[in-house]
Symmetry: C2
Subunit: 401 residues, 2 copies
């Protein structure tokens, strides 16, 4: 059995081994939440014309002292072609309209009195050159790069795609994932009666929820018994149809831990097994013969979730090609236990103090099997090996559930 | 036209007017991301038995000095019924197994030498009472409340549901939403050629992305022309089939702003129109005759998104019954412009300093029509009315896109 490796080495080995998921084109209405694989440039100047910013009247300033104007026509949003040549005239305009040719400012409708076809500016209103005119190209110029590959598409990105005519969007393909529960002791949620020695299967649902929250909608749940031949057969079938396998349980050192053996028989190359951390030490990671990503997480519920948020989910984001934001950092508001040799992951609840610091209150699980308290937490902080405890005030990286 | 009301009053009026969406039961495999509407109690003690925490051997401690044991049998995970009466015997156990009756501690497999059916503890290993035994009920007791209504179901909550036999979950029904774009100037993303006076429709896609990211998957896009009869007809049809209507544009004071008129004709009661804020001042909100939630957002892209994250999305979370976490607070790392009379929303990019503070760098949009820079931001900070600017170091609430 190999020595546990440090967390950062595990992370690097995983990073260096990962494939990249394919690319596909989807209609813009299906693009939300996906990871962009193309560059998006400005289709034209933005705004594409001098744009009116208020409902009101477009005028020329001329000598600047004129207070009364004849309303010569109107140019509403979506109309074009009007011009304003005479400084004694005004043109009615609405927010979003093209500024009529020759006009130099917009006076808000609230700042004029209108009588039939004449308007008069209120005495305390003094229009300024280009006032309430959003100049053509002031937002961006045609050809400017607006979005780069690796962005996860949220509302602002969708606005940019739509505004620049990108009806079909090049995004990362989201692979199918199989979650495989191991262990004969596991009883499904529907089964009504429990033998005292049995426990309910829960990791697979938790992992599926974490994956779905990150956009992995095509998730299959499977189960293998504690039997090498059956495990090998089922995993072989799943490897043929899914690009990502996530197993829970079966990677500890006991006699029935058949997962590494089954994966080896199927040609899945072991990249790491065992990490110097608590919880989650038995984690196994490998790459299948066709580039399949295989995570075998420990069976304890807290361990499985910690390994998922620390390794599995970041790995899948990398394979999607997402440019990851810097990690979220929080401040411990109470001491937390550390280990001289292991990186410790401690569940925390995050709140904000008046100074705007994100404080993390440790909610330690008594053991890696205790997950009843996890719903009250936001994620885990990562505490490097250290002889002493981590003092209150320690700044640590947060991994959210 | 009514006077703009302060942001906090707008928020209160909306809160006080909102209906609550219905309740439904869904299979656990469809529950991820939904808002819980039931209480979940522990089905039994957790763990349900004294659970073995390591692969190894269960022993009795007896006088405490015994170093050699005869392996009398084994109790693997999922098995039950074994007992250990003789202090000279050990029972082989695996992680997750029931502790054999009478056993008092578990010795990890790494800490023994085994020779046929005998084991000997390593010289430096000294077992302690209850060591590597996860005591029955130490996590929670049967009947303990584990989840309360109002929780959004993430991975830890799914683990708790599955572990406690909740196969069908009572959750908030997620209503259908219609997003309605107004304005004759709007051209859809697929149309190839642009008249200089036209702009592409983008708010609807951005709003749909924001809604989908919050679990509103049933989103319809619609469009109405600048015509009262047609607007009224379309909105009437949508009110009959959708519980939430989100309009963009058509709420400013110009002549073509027909939305409030059409909504009034359809019996939608106006709750507010115009908020003392920038951007987003023209926002309109009302409640339809059958309790439909109707938001009419300004047409400017930044305004529409600001109103969505500040009012629309929190309102929908409230109607789902979600217990909202405290707002996220950030520290400005540069001054930002404020207004003496308006609450200002300023786009920011968030990063973390070495002290664990969340710093927000303002990325001001030149106008509320400028959204090319928004993809580089995480959301907006909310700055109360103030004569001066907001200085660097100001702590403000962040609303994420």
């Amino acid at each position: 059995m190999s020595e546990p490796i440090p967390v950062h080495e595990a992370e690097q080995r995983i990073r260096a081994s990962l494939p990249r998921f394919g690319t596909e084109h989807v209609a813009i209405d299906l693009a939300a939440g996906r990871v962009l694989r193309q560059t998006v440039v400005a289709e034209r100047d933005q705004p594409p014309f001098d744009r009116v910013m208020m409902d009101g009247y477009a005028i020329r300033l001329g000598a600047g002292s004129r207070r009364e104007f004849a309303v010569a026509g109107r140019q509403l949003a979506g109309m074009s072609g009007e011009a304003l040549a005479d400084p004694a005239q005004a043109m009615e305009v609405t927010t979003g309209a093209m500024l009529p040719l020759g006009a130099e400012a917009v006076v808000p409708v609230e700042q004029v009195s209108r009588d039939a076809d004449r308007i008069r500016l209120h005495d305390d209103w003094h229009p300024a050159m280009r006032q309430f005119v959003h100049a053509r190209g002031s937002d961006c110029r045609e050809g400017d790069t607006l979005l780069e590959p690796g962005v996860r598409l949220r509302a602002p990105e969708l606005a940019v795609l739509a505004a620049n005519g990108v009806a079909e969007v090049e995004v990362a393909r989201v692979p199918g994932v199989a979650i495989v529960a191991t262990g004969d002791e596991l009883v499904d949620v529907e089964q009504p009666v429990l033998d005292p020695g049995q426990i309910r299967r829960s990791n697979d649902r938790a992992l599926a929820a974490a994956l779905r929250a990150r956009g992995f909608d095509d998730v299959t749940l499977a189960r293998v018994p504690d039997d090498l031949a059956a495990t090998t057969a089922t995993l072989g079938q799943l490897l043929a149809s899914r690009q990502v396998l996530v197993l829970s349980g079966g990677v500890s050192v006991g006699q029935r831990d058949l997962v590494p053996a089954a994966l080896a028989a199927l040609g899945v190359r072991q990249v790491l097994h065992r990490i110097a951390q608590r919880p989650g030490k038995p984690m196994w990671f490998g790459i299948g013969p066709d580039g399949q990503i295989v995570f075998a997480l420990p069976g304890n519920p807290v361990s499985a979730l910690v390994c998922a948020v620390r390794y599995l989910l970041p790995a899948l984001e990398q394979a999607l090609g997402r440019v990851m934001p810097a990690p979220e950092r929080v401040v411990l508001d109470a001491p937390a236990i550390t280990s001289p040799t292991l990186t410790c992951f401690v569940p925390v609840r995050v709140h904000h103090d008046p100074a705007g610091r994100a404080l993390a209150s440790p909610v330690p699980a008594p053991t890696s099997g205790d997950f009843s308290a996890l719903p009250r937490t936001d994620g885990v902080v990562e505490l490097a090996p250290s002889g002493a405890h981590a003092a209150a005030g320690t700044v640590a990286t947060l991994h959210r559930w």
